[in-house]
Symmetry: C2
Subunit: 326 residues, 2 copies
């Protein structure tokens, strides 16, 4: 009910009458009034005028299950939202929930993670109030070998969601980091559990630096936030809603094609190093080439000096570009 | 300490003096005496003779963490044992323990499972006192696509372990069921969690019908147990120890080759349908052929009527053989 009241207040430019809220939600005026009081306590600034009703004047950057739910606008991502004030890692929670049968599209989010995870066992700093730390449970009916493409779909969704809200479009550092001015603002960690040739679930974790005001000195060249790049703070709920919607849209296109053929163009538009020199740090040695985009399987196409195009598998290499190593 | 006392008592034909136990384990005579009393309460029949010491005369089919540990004889499987009187599913527990960092070779076993899992979300009956319900955590440094071979390695290990203890060698119904007289006595469920191209862990669950005296009528043609096939009851601890050792040995050979090339011959020796007609129930339709073994990747080789050999991927099909559908 709380999420529905928030949503109604946000959608309406003017007042929503108590009567309307009662009718729509099938609850008493007292129940509505109690929720309004709760919302005010959480940081929503609500004007109440006799004979007119309630109006949302402004709000703090509230993060809660109800706030996130109020920002979801259909689509496969966000059908269920699980929110923690603090948790170890939203990916760990999402995996545990998936084991218990949580459905596709479940979003697991936290105000702060005390054991946030990066790739390859690295940590991920997730202080409260400054970022979006969320994981999405997916259950695609695909061969496990195709699941790595979900990471690219998520990168596309997060970039598009940020663009819709802020007007600036983060570039994608293949396969799955987002950058602004060459600095990382988002990392994505995809984990998957399979039973031999069948995917049980995929968990896509996204860490986005939103209102972070600064980073430790050793990271200032490498990391940034939406705040640092735009000079403004951003509300995380609407950002999450936009990301969920964009990710869901791209995810459906991915499932329809079973590969990235419908998304390749959109992805390449955002590809940070397109047509620039990159160094591929492959297992068998490093080599230089020009980044020529991706193929329909999500592999990076790198043109070597002899004109030969090599296909770089996700994760097999690091790619070094204009903005340094990551 | 308990496992070490059990092991010493089992290894020694005659008496183990209290003094020796105290010295070896660095504990007092009273501590040893207390453990002996515990063991007697659990079902170990121990003779205590003044000036000689303790002798293990016989034992019930005790299952406990200490009993299982006492049956482990080195190798990569069984370095750690986690035992539950009752749990939901040893695979579910093993996955949770793996998430918390449990090392390679951890064995998770239970006297009974109340939500035992079979393949593709099916259930697995796991009554107390009658079977071995155990899962093994592995962390192979392999591409995820190679992990399906672990299932075949496990099948080989369980077959060999049973053979070493009972003298009869269960056949393998490719890829991962064990059969005796054409009836299933063991099923294996392999689950895996990956981070894109990196395996985080593999959990291999094994359900073995050991002392089961009977099955529901609809299963009597399909399922059997070591008891029903040999006319004897078997102690589960030594069986688990032998399986762990054999599985560990084959697992090391698998890791060395990164495929089944060193194990192919051993596997084919046990392959139930070798050189017999099988029906492959592929997605695109069923066809008949003669089973000609496996290749080094664990794919089943099926010779069609025109002499062409088709390679059947694990899980892609069901194979129907002389002993009916499974």
């Amino acid at each position: 009910m709380k999420a529905e009241i928030i949503k109604l207040l946000k959608e309406r430019q003017g007042y929503v009458s108590g009567q309307e809220l009662c009718c729509r939600l099938g609850v008493s005026r007292t129940a509505v009034w109690k929720v309004i009081k709760q919302l005010e306590a959480e940081g929503y600034i609500i004007e109440a005028v006799r004979n007119k009703g309630y109006r949302l004047v402004d709000m703090r950057d509230v993060l809660s299950g109800a706030e996130i739910e109020s920002c979801i606008n259909g689509g496969p991502i966000g059908a269920r939202v699980v929110y923690y004030e603090e948790t170890d890692s939203t990916n760990t929670r999402a995996k545990a929930l998936a084991e218990e049968g949580a459905p596709e599209g479940t979003i697991v989010a936290a105000e702060t993670q005390n054991a946030g995870k990066g790739r390859r066992g690295r940590g991920w700093s997730s202080p409260p109030g400054s970022g979006i730390w969320m994981s999405v449970i997916l259950r695609p009916d695909l061969e496990p070998s195709r699941a790595s493409m979900v990471t690219l779909v998520a990168a596309l969704g997060v970039s598009e969601g940020i663009c819709r809200v802020t007007g600036i479009m983060p570039q994608i550092k293949w396969p799955n980091d987002l950058v602004l001015s060459g600095k990382k603002i988002c990392g994505i960690l995809t984990e998957m559990t399979t039973e031999l040739d069948v995917i049980q679930y995929v968990v896509v974790g996204m860490g986005i630096n939103v209102n972070t005001h600064g980073f430790p000195q050793e990271l200032t060249d490498k990391a940034s936030s939406l705040y640092l790049e735009t000079g403004k703070t951003w509300k995380r709920g609407p950002l999450m809603g936009a990301m969920a919607q964009a990710f869901g849209m791209y995810y459906e296109q991915f499932l329809a094609a079973k590969d990235l053929s419908l998304l390749k163009e959109e992805y390449e538009k955002r590809l940070a190093n397109l047509d620039r020199q990159v160094t591929v740090l492959a297992r068998e040695g490093a080599y230089n080439g020009i980044c020529r985009g991706i193929d329909s399987q999500g592999e990076l196409l790198v043109e070597k000096e002899d004109g030969h195009i090599s296909r770089v598998l996700s994760g097999e290499v690091s790619v070094r570009g204009i903005y340094g190593y990551v």
